[in-house]
Symmetry: C2
Subunit: 165 residues, 2 copies
């Protein structure tokens, strides 16, 4: 199973593609990166960039499922949450247009799945990702680690589903 993890954002949308072979333990890192947009561009144009950038990733890597982080409903700045909703909207649409199923995971669930605690720090998550994929360095920017984290969370979920069937 090939999983695309996505950490949605208007400035930077992180993505990470991993392979999960049936019966084999560790997921393999295929590709990871970031779609950046320019904050001086119009919002609509930035959304098109995110949409087409992700469409290109989906086209290239033929994933089976997209795991996308949900947005906090309790942001300090509700305007920011709404803007992030705009970005997440075009991300979900790009996945569905590519015929890819979308699964959503909250930050707490992702952290808990990776390091056993829903309150893990950014650094803990980065180290967990570095360790899981045997990387020499922590992924940069952090959006890449966050995208791989949600992909890995879905992998754990998928493995658990298989085991309990």
């Amino acid at each position: 199973m090939r999983i695309l993890g996505i950490d949605p954002g208007l400035q930077r949308t992180g993505y990470g593609v991993i392979d999960l072979a049936a019966g084999v333990g560790a997921p393999r890192l295929v590709e990871a990166g970031v779609i950046r947009t320019n904050r001086t561009d119009a919002l609509a144009d930035r959304l098109v960039e995110i949409h087409s950038g992700l469409a290109a990733v989906l086209d290239e890597f033929k994933v089976d499922v997209a795991a996308v982080e949900t947005l906090y409903a309790h942001y300090k700045h509700p305007r920011t949450a709404i803007l992030m909703g705009h970005a997440r909207g075009v991300i979900l649409a790009a996945a569905a247009e590519a015929g890819v199923r979308v699964e959503s995971y909250g930050a707490t669930k992702i952290k808990k799945s990776l390091v056993g605690s829903g309150h893990a720090s950014k650094q803990q998550i980065q180290r967990a990702i570095q360790s899981a994929f045997h990387l020499q360095e922590t992924p940069y920017p952090p959006d890449v680690a966050d995208a791989l984290a949600v992909a890995l969370c879905h992998a754990h979920q998928a493995v658990r589903t298989v085991h309990t069937r």
Copy 2:
């Protein structure tokens, strides 16, 4: 100038196309309607429907500008605001993909532009729309009136801009 007004929503996105002839007073109603999505469908699929529905409208009516209502940042339910942000995201992307400029207007500005008060009721807006376009009945569902209201708000803005130049 041809203006597409849009009232973004996940359940129902209202749209209204109006023509504003240079020098002639009253804008003319070209077309108005609603893009509906099924609440039992997956969010990603509903976003694709809104995206493709609006792309079809943009393709058919060749508008010069899209005027889109902004979302409140002070919703009682921040989760709803974020979900509406998802819908508004694919709407803005569809406009930009069609090469159409996007202008955003807040609810207060729209109401003030139509009936002189930022605190006008839904009914007052509906009656103002009915009167502006000489309609026999108030537009239904209300999302259609709201879409025509934002289109008309942009028309007033555009006329004012020409006058003061």
